[in-house]
């Protein structure tokens, strides 16, 4: 593991954050120019919503109870796309090897990727929500829902980044990620769907709070584990 030469703690933390920022910015800047990943994720998400429209025959009353589920399924699938592409690009262009040679803590690479993957996912979600509201003539955008989506996405991306780093190094690559990720991300999805559903249906806060707490706890647990274990996944 590479460590910076001993310095005063504030500088070490500073250089760590700078490394995280640099890695995240590398992906975001590249995406800003090409917009390949975002457009793919976005189009995919909208197509999923379209398919749900035909598959589920949503009348207004039924829609209220399953909107949360439909949204999260959409986000989960689109998120997989983003995670896969994001890691595949690293591997194919040899960026990952370059990053590993840099005198930077491995966990900075992990957090950098998490930040950029999270940014992509949030951008897609930010567009899907108003579009969904428009298509179904209901307003789904609310502060509570946005908060839940943020928390849920954090958990999703935390584990997803770790597992996509593994998946990209296998023979089956893209196909491997959903197989690895979905069974393991169930607790995050359950809490996120329940909390989202609560906000969408206007349930009282004390009913939604347990799910939000659960979500925060899961996020912390998964981020902690993923970042501790990330070293083992990228070491050569």
């Amino acid at each position: 593991m590479n460590r910076a030469a001993p310095r005063r703690s504030s500088t070490v933390a500073g250089s760590f954050l700078r490394a995280v920022g640099a890695i995240a910015w590398k992906d975001l800047a590249a995406e800003l120019r090409s917009r390949e990943l975002l457009s793919a994720m976005l189009v995919f998400a909208l197509l999923v919503i379209l398919i749900f429209n035909f598959a589920l025959e949503l009348d207004v009353k039924t829609r209220a109870t399953i909107t949360a589920g439909v949204l999260w399924v959409t986000f989960a699938f689109a998120g997989t796309l983003g995670l896969n592409r994001s890691m595949a690009v690293e591997k194919d262009q040899g960026c990952l090897d370059g990053l590993l040679l840099a005198p930077v803590d491995r966990s900075a690479i992990y957090f950098g990727k998490v930040v950029s993957n999270l940014a992509f996912m949030l951008i897609v979600e930010a567009i899907v929500l108003p579009v969904y509201s428009f298509l179904y003539n209901t307003n789904v955008v609310s502060l509570g829902l946005v908060g839940v989506i943020l928390l849920g996405s954090i958990g999703y991306v935390a584990v997803g980044t770790l597992l996509s780093s593994m998946a990209v190094q296998t023979r089956t690559r893209d196909v491997m990620l959903p197989i690895l990720l979905f069974p393991v991300i169930v607790p995050v999805l359950v809490a996120a769907v329940k909390a989202s559903s609560g906000f969408l249906q206007g349930l009282p806060m004390n009913e939604i709070l347990p799910w939000l707490n659960l979500l925060v706890v899961y996020d912390i647990i998964f981020i902690a584990i993923a970042f501790m274990v990330f070293d083992y996944v990228v070491e050569e």
Partner: protein, 232 residues
């Protein structure tokens, strides 16, 4: 290659005899349950297999952590053996549970916390095996396997808790309120003895198969290393 150790041969024989005894117990010793009839007897081996499947899960998790700390390949061999055997036993548990459920609950499946978690656990086992199949390098395979057992090992209890919470906050309205109530039964002493004995028997079978599977893992590693050496 080392011949089968005597202890293992003895264990094989004991496992077989115990299994015969357990079958006899289930078929003849355990009483016929009044409400469900013969199908209730599926319970004995169903519980035993589920129990053993969970054992393997824990063994795999411990092996995974041990591998990451020591980088000793023997832990990887133990880990994959534990997952593979648990996969088989847990599958048996799920299928027998489903067969038991049909005449009793009138459905092959419900989404209650235990069953849902069981399905997810089985999927994690399968995902683990698929992950390993997709990696050529033994060292990387070991590392990734260990990482995934860790993540899975953490996730499954969390899943169980969340789904439990899910069900208590929103009681199941369609299809009966408490699935456990239809299919629960009071255990007579003979039933309890049969159940405990079945659990014991399958634990012994687990150890026997586990040992054999580990031996296969060691042999496979020897073959792989020899192949590598000869192609250099």
């Amino acid at each position: 290659m080392t011949p089968t150790p005597r202890a293992l041969r003895v264990l094989e024989i004991i496992s077989f005899l115990l299994l015969v005894a357990a079958v006899w117990m289930v078929f003849f010793f355990a009483p016929l349950e009044a409400v469900m009839g013969a199908v209730q007897k599926v319970f004995y081996f169903h519980v035993a297999n589920a129990w053993v499947g969970m054992l393997g899960f824990i063994a795999a998790g411990i092996s995974g952590i041990a591998y990451l700390r020591t980088h000793d390949m023997k832990w990887d061999i133990v880990e994959v053996a534990a997952v593979e055997i648990s996969l088989v036993f847990f599958l048996i548990a799920i299928v027998t549970g489903s067969i038991w459920a049909y005449p009793v609950w009138n459905t092959w499946w419900t989404w209650d916390p235990r069953l849902t978690t069981a399905a997810i656990l089985e999927l994690i086992y399968i995902a683990y095996m698929l992950l390993r199949q997709g990696i050529e390098d033994p060292e990387r395979r070991a590392r990734f396997g260990a990482v995934y057992t860790l993540i899975g090992g953490l996730s499954v209890p969390l899943t169980f808790m969340s789904i439990r919470l899910f069900r208590t906050i929103h009681p199941v309205v369609v299809g009966g309120s408490n699935a456990a109530a239809q299919g629960g039964f009071d255990m007579s002493p003979r039933m309890l003895q049969s159940m405990l004995f079945s659990i014991l028997v399958f634990s012994v079978i687990f150890i026997t198969l586990f040992w054999h599977r580990i031996r296969i893992g060691v042999l496979a590693q020897t073959v792989e290393q020899l192949k590598l050496k000869l192609t250099q």
